[in-house]
Subunit: 205 residues, 2 copies
């Protein structure tokens, strides 16, 4: 996308600038969903997953029967990508159309979380990201549920952030064209909550 | 995510159900952004890209200097994934928390689009997806711009759709818990357009 309004940040595990980590963490923490890429026998798969971040580690989870998690827990290299689409950029020329966005691609090797405390903490953060303090409100997982849930950790070995913001950048000779140009801001918006009909009457929110 | 409310569709190039293609096309066409996964020397990358669909072919584009497109045009197998996050599902138990979503993973092998007509058509559809008929309004690409733009086609060889919708599915023994449960609907919303300050005064939208 257009260079003039694009920004980049890059971190490596042993060669880091605090500023760049902050940029990367902010983009990650603003997202509920990531896309996880991995390879199985030469075929690349990209799947959407919920995730949580604790420090420089990303956590994924799923059912113990999940074929994907079974593959990943063997120490597979993964790419975890998060993207926010912040707007459409309508330029005077078709060529300079673009999108405003913030994106992070984080690279690491997955490991299964076996430690009970780390697993419990990761699951709490996963739930709390959906609603603040939700893990204190909802019934905590029992032993059977914990056994049915697999949690993977992906320590970030390297990550890069890319973003674009701002108006279109048209060529000087196009500026007088009779074409509307500008931005269409986009954002993910929550609408009114829908109570599950089965909530007891004594317990309406 | 929860099985009871999950739906799946799967198509293969030579073994297709029209219903499943319609499901997959609807999810693809509702998205402006996809995540493209590919492998370079054993490392998987997942990058966000704009895309267009014409029939059973997905089109990607970027600068001719793009390292990613240079890799892909050599006939790389790719996975193009699109996900809509439609809502958060807050259950009475932490274990049954989930998300409502619609997702498609499409698999194919990228080829560079050389044919001038196919390239022009793909670029038109890419621009029109941002705003209806935008390709008729904006200045069309000239020869220099077309030379600077690389377009890749990914004919869909196989694709699968997954989705979840509806309320949480709690265990019977949790239904009387004093915990609010339900859905938080989410959607990508456009806010008021921001005119580029450089639009001539005679040409206000």
């Amino acid at each position: 996308m257009d260079a003039p309004h694009a920004e980049r940040a890059l971190v490596r595990r042993d060669d880091r600038a605090a500023y760049d980590w902050a940029t990367i963490f902010a983009i990650l923490d603003d997202a509920l969903l990531c896309h996880v890429g991995f390879s199985v026998e030469g075929q690349v798969f990209v799947l959407p997953m919920a995730f949580a971040r604790i420090g420089e580690t990303l956590y994924l989870h799923g059912g113990a029967a999940s074929r994907m998690l079974k593959v990943l827990r063997k120490g597979a290299p993964v790419c975890v990508t998060v993207t926010h689409l912040d707007g459409l950029v309508l330029a005077r020329s078709a060529f300079h159309h673009s999108m405003n966005y913030r994106s992070v691609a984080a690279f690491g090797t997955a490991r299964e979380v076996i430690d009970a405390d780390e697993k419990a903490r990761a699951l709490e953060v996963l739930v709390d990201r959906m609603d603040p303090d939700r893990s204190k409100v909802a019934r905590a997982p029992n032993a059977r549920e914990l056994a049915l849930t697999r949690v993977l950790a992906v320590p970030i070995e390297e990550a890069s952030a890319k973003s674009r913001r701002g108006p279109p950048i048209d060529d000087a000779e196009d500026m007088a064209l009779d074409v509307w140009a500008g931005e269409v801001p986009l954002r993910l918006v929550a609408s009114e909550r829908v109570r599950d009909g089965a909530v007891p009457r004594a317990n309406l929110a």
